[in-house]
């Protein structure tokens, strides 16, 4: 064997060993199931494939948690995990599943809207595969994931993504981005079918309000705000004023959903279903390009010296100091904003009242930490634990 052949063999063996090492972590992430303890309000758990049968057997056949008060009122759908790299969204949704008790009307929750995206990490971004939150009974683990669905589940991408039905041209990878695929289509790719399933669910369950939770980099202009479809503008404006004046240290704004930008939930759900649609944004330094070390600490504590430095040069759309944007703050803001919007909706539509109790508001989440609101799956009855 000559020297070159020997080098090639050594390189091949090293590559195979590296692939195996990394492959174990990829496998663990792809197959890890997140336990969800069904709270007192959960009356039924459905699969999304009940509304779009082609999703059956796919990773995006997510759980749909239904919390029905049994009393008349409206119906609201809360969507978490649209972009899995925005953890405050699925954590907020899960807190509702594990704690909420509807007193009037019905709450529907999806915690992992684009499960596919939560099963792999975004190349080049160095995100941690998992993050863990301390609770009184131990540590609880979630997958982090990417913004878009995994190419393992939806590939190849088109040369350019033509949005249905507007025919607007979008970046090719956005065909795996759940918040560019509304209202979806039944014969589309995986994520288009996922949004189609959710749109069908909204129609068939007579959902009045749809709320899509998000987080955004501080360099991004749409930040700490409620983006509202025309049907929901009054609710968003009132919620923004009340939350800013009574609960939040950093104000929450309100923006109109652009009519010319397609595929987003705040536009298409309002246009293509009878429901009104809202989208919430909160600051997440992990998503900033100028961030420092990328690790679980940044995911949870949201503290970053580089982002703070950029703020000093007025390059950010949200304030940040040495305290950062902690996960407790981000989740707390989403919970309070959701509850506030429901209160205003109920006030404006008394015959469609939705009342939810059992869920902490911003100040309580900040004080106790999000870990205080997740329950021990090992202590729960087996039929009261589901997996996302």
């Amino acid at each position: 064997m000559d020297r070159l052949t020997r080098i090639k063999w050594i390189a091949a063996v090293l590559c195979a060993a590296s692939a195996l090492w990394a492959g174990v972590e990829f496998y663990e992430m792809r197959h890890y199931k997140e336990p969800v303890v069904l709270g007192p309000g959960v009356t039924q758990v459905q699969k999304l494939s009940a509304y779009e049968p082609s999703l059956a057997g796919t990773v995006n056949d997510c759980n749909v948690y239904i919390l029905d008060s049994g009393r008349p009122g409206g119906t609201v759908l809360l969507i978490g995990g649209t972009h899995p790299e925005e953890p405050a969204t699925n954590l907020t949704a899960q807190i509702f599943v594990e704690n909420a008790k509807p007193e009037a009307g019905r709450l529907i929750v999806v915690t992992r809207a684009n499960t596919s995206g939560s099963l792999y990490s975004r190349n080049g971004e160095a995100y941690p595969s998992f993050y863990e939150i301390k609770t009184s009974w131990g540590s609880k683990k979630w997958r982090l994931g990417d913004r878009a669905g995994s190419p393992l589940d939806s590939w190849p991408d088109p040369e350019v993504y033509v949005h249905y039905p507007s025919r607007q041209l979008l970046a090719y990878m956005d065909i795996r981005n759940l918040n560019r695929c509304w209202p979806g289509r039944p014969n589309g790719l995986l994520v288009e079918r996922t949004t189609y399933g959710m749109a069908q669910m909204i129609r068939s369950l007579g959902v009045d309000v749809v709320v899509d939770l998000h987080e955004a980099e501080l360099e991004y202009a749409v930040e700490n705000t409620i983006v509202a479809h025309e049907k929901a503008q009054e609710i968003a404006a009132m919620a923004s004023m009340m939350l800013t004046s009574t609960e939040f240290e950093v104000p929450i704004g309100m923006e109109f959903s652009p009519t010319a930008l397609h595929g987003l939930s705040h536009r298409e759900v309002g246009d293509h279903t009878p429901a009104m649609s809202l989208l919430y944004e909160v600051a997440e330094p992990l998503l900033d390009r100028i961030r420092g070390v990328t690790d679980q600490k940044l995911v949870l504590e949201g503290k970053d010296d580089f982002v703070v430095e950029a703020g000093k040069h007025k390059l950010l759309y949200a304030p940040i100091d040495e305290n950062g944007w902690h996960i407790d703050v981000r989740v707390g803001r989403h919970i309070s904003t959701f509850l506030q919007c429901l209160d205003i909706f109920s006030m404006m539509n008394p015959e469609r009242t939705i009342t939810i109790t059992g869920v902490p508001r911003y100040a309580e989440v900040k004080e106790k930490g999000v870990g205080a609101f997740f329950h021990d799956p090992s202590k729960a009855a087996k039929d009261r634990v589901e997996y996302d």
Partner: protein, 435 residues
């Protein structure tokens, strides 16, 4: 955190230079830099060696590599079938006495392979030698000929529809790769035409070469080759692209690599000569290994830089620079950084710059297009000089690399740099191009 990021950058530079001193290739030197930075970060910060991040990073540009390889395979088959020789002979035969039209058509011949593949190397390897032969027959001296081939190849890489720098930077900034065709086409066409006419517009010698002599210098096109056989594969390529846009909800999504492979099948079916497909494929992969290798390694390096905060600190220092400083220096910074890092500059510098420009109210598409035309100018600069070296090798150029060849490129480079800088400064006013 700042100290850690600076230390990582220092280690990356030191490891890269050390590997270069040991005569490792650029891609292996980058890999060594990534490993060194990963070891330091693992020891000092996280307590574990981040091997997963290195492996994951190598797949960052997997799709781009597939497009790159399949597109180059398609163009290599066109060349092997005699299609390129046929086109060039027809151009010389018809327009030998019309220098202007001849140069115009040769510029387009140079632009097409790179525009379709995003790689200037593909233009050099598939049509460079033939176009070079025509230029020699037109009395262009060796230095100017090599410079013309390099400059048009560089502009072909920048030309739409596939510009890898713009694609990579847009993807990093969560920005659709849509609307780039207009500004990229204007800049790359201007650059390519100016380069060709500046360098080859006048014959260097008075010796008149007849049409017959010019044709005699070119390889024969195989018997039976005709326009239908040459153009039909391109029609299939364009047709599949168009079908995806015209009937997006009915036409199956097969992806760009498969579109190139189907077009390559059409070349194979229509070729008047028996094609040694496996050999062409092997040669294609072998020729592209350095470029694909760089993209694979760049992905790993970028992921380690992102993990350790070094990417962030670079981005931060870029975005806090005053705009006037950027306008005054980008035309140098971008080509020089391309010479050092190749495609790695797009996610490393392009993404923070585009976010800054967006924040400052500039048109991000026009601005990124301008940067994406500046970058390939650095492909003749050290230490990599990939396309420049490919051009001189393919043309068997025997002059001095820097003092003759690179020097001959300077005026066209300056022209392109001025155009791109104007596009940057007036991006808002030129936003109408981004449709």
């Amino acid at each position: 955190m700042f100290a850690h990021a600076y230390m990582i950058l220092g280690i990356v530079v030191a490891a890269f230079l050390a590997a270069k001193v040991l005569r490792l290739s650029t891609e292996l030197s980058m890999l060594a830099a990534a490993f060194a930075a990963a070891v330091y970060h693992g020891v000092v910060w996280s307590g574990e060696f981040p091997l997963r991040h290195i492996v994951e990073g190598t797949f960052t540009y997997f799709d781009v590599c597939l497009i790159f390889i399949s597109a180059t395979f398609f163009m290599a088959l066109v060349k092997e079938s005699g299609g390129v020789a046929f086109i060039v002979r027809r151009i010389v035969g018809a327009f030998h006495s019309h220098r202007f039209i001849c140069l115009l058509l040769l510029t387009f011949v140079m632009l097409i392979p790179g525009a379709l593949t995003g790689s200037g190397a593909t233009s050099v390897l598939t049509v460079g030698a033939l176009v070079g032969s025509v230029l020699s027959a037109m009395g262009v001296d060796e230095t100017r000929k090599a410079a013309a081939i390099f400059m048009t190849a560089a502009m072909s890489a920048a030309a739409p529809p596939i510009n890898l720098w713009a694609m990579m930077a847009a993807a990093g900034a969560n920005m659709p790769y849509v609307g780039f065709n207009g500004p990229l086409a204007v800049l790359s066409l201007l650059g390519a035409l100016f380069s060709m006419f500046w360098l080859a517009g006048r014959a260097s010698s008075d010796a008149h070469i007849s049409r017959e002599d010019a044709l005699a210098r070119l390889p024969e096109a195989p018997e039976g080759m005709n326009w239908l056989r040459v153009l039909l594969p391109f029609v299939v390529f364009g047709g599949l692209l168009a079908a995806g846009r015209i009937w997006p909800f009915d036409f199956p999504i097969i992806g760009l690599p498969m579109i190139f492979m189907l077009s390559a099948c059409m070349v194979w079916l229509l070729s008047p000569v028996k094609l040694r497909v496996w050999r062409v494929l092997s040669d294609t992969v072998r020729n592209l290994l350095p470029l694909v290798g760089i993209m694979v390694v760049v992905g790993a390096l970028i992921q380690i830089l992102a993990l350790s905060g070094a990417r962030g600190v670079i981005s931060l220092h870029v975005v806090i620079l005053p705009l006037t400083t950027l306008f005054a220096t980008l035309f140098i910074i971008l080509p020089v950084s391309e010479g050092i890092l190749q495609y790695a500059v797009a996610p490393l510098l392009g993404v923070p710059l585009i976010m800054l420009f967006n924040m400052k109210g500039m048109d991000p598409i026009v601005a990124l297009s301008a940067m994406s035309v500046l970058w390939p100018l650095g492909d003749c600069l050290p230490p990599t000089a990939v396309i420049g070296r490919a051009a001189v090798m393919e043309l068997h150029y025997e002059g001095r690399y820097y003092s003759d060849f690179v020097r001959a490129c300077l005026i066209p480079m300056l022209f392109i740099a001025v155009c791109c800088t104007l596009f940057l400064i007036y991006s808002k006013q030129l936003a109408f191009l981004a449709v």
